[in-house]
């Protein structure tokens, strides 16, 4: 069975999601990149979101467990909506259409390697601070 989600949790997700989507769309309209060139906006929001999600979830899970709505607001809502998988795939597809295979490989590899490393680094940062306090 799927547990019934509570309304306040859904409201927190919607609020964070609205903020993340507004920021991403505003950035993508301010800084447009030509088709089949390095998509700086998508790259930047994805990496920023990976840093923040590692930070928020580690902090909320391992340091401040007594906040029911911060993870849905900041993690599921804001970071989830700020970052995007679908746009990245479309950008990759257009690079492949344009036969820019090196660019597509580089964009996928750097996004994934850096995104992964940033989650690791921000999680490690939270745990290190905890040990010092």
């Amino acid at each position: 069975m799927v547990p019934r989600p509570d309304r306040q949790e859904l409201a927190a997700i919607a609020l964070g999601g609205a903020a993340g989507a507004l920021l991403r769309v505003a950035l993508s309209r301010s800084y447009t990149s030509a088709d089949a060139s390095w998509p700086w906006v998508t790259f930047a929001v994805n990496i920023a979101g990976a840093i923040l999600l590692g930070y928020f979830v580690t902090r909320l899970q391992e340091r401040l467990p007594l906040s029911a709505y911060r993870r849905p607001l900041l993690g599921t809502g804001f970071c989830g909506a700020l970052t995007t998988f679908s746009t990245m795939q479309l950008e990759l597809l257009r690079m492949l259409d344009a036969h820019r295979y090196g660019l597509a490989t580089g964009y996928a590899a750097v996004s994934i390697a850096l995104g992964y490393a940033c989650v690791h680094a921000s999680s490690a940062f939270v745990r290190r601070v905890r040990r010092l306090v």
Binding site: A21, A50, V57, S86
Partner: protein
């Protein structure tokens, strides 16, 4: 973009995040949480839908609202990376690699398929 369209970005962005949460919960409850199938289902369905949308050639504000706000918010990169990193931490590095590789390859397949179908509608 008009203030009305920006309000639409906020509403649809919030809606996309809620849909992601619900689909993730539904899939995880059925298939289990050993591997992040919930996020995989979200990202692959979102890529398929974005392909469909580009295949039928939406433009202007409609494209921003559907592709940017709704599907951009529905799919997620940060959770994909987070879950892969946590799999490695739990000693399941092979599954982390599978999660990264399958999402990427199947995501490209899904968006290409969506665009193909959209172009023939």
């Amino acid at each position: 973009m008009s203030p009305f369209a920006w309000a639409g970005v906020a509403v649809l962005g919030g809606g996309g995040a809620i849909l992601r949460f619900l689909l993730d919960g539904l899939v995880s409850a059925r298939v289990g949480r050993d591997l992040p199938f919930g996020t995989l289902a979200v990202n692959l369905s979102g890529a398929l839908l974005l392909g469909l949308v580009t295949g039928i050639v939406l433009t202007g504000d409609a494209l921003v609202l559907v592709a940017g706000a709704t599907l951009g918010s529905f799919t997620t990169f940060s959770t994909w990376m987070f879950e892969s990193q946590r799999l490695t931490e739990e000693g399941e590095g092979r599954y982390a690699l599978v999660n990264v590789g399958v999402s990427l390859a199947a995501g490209l397949g899904a968006i290409a398929l969506g665009r193909f179908i959209g172009g023939h509608l």
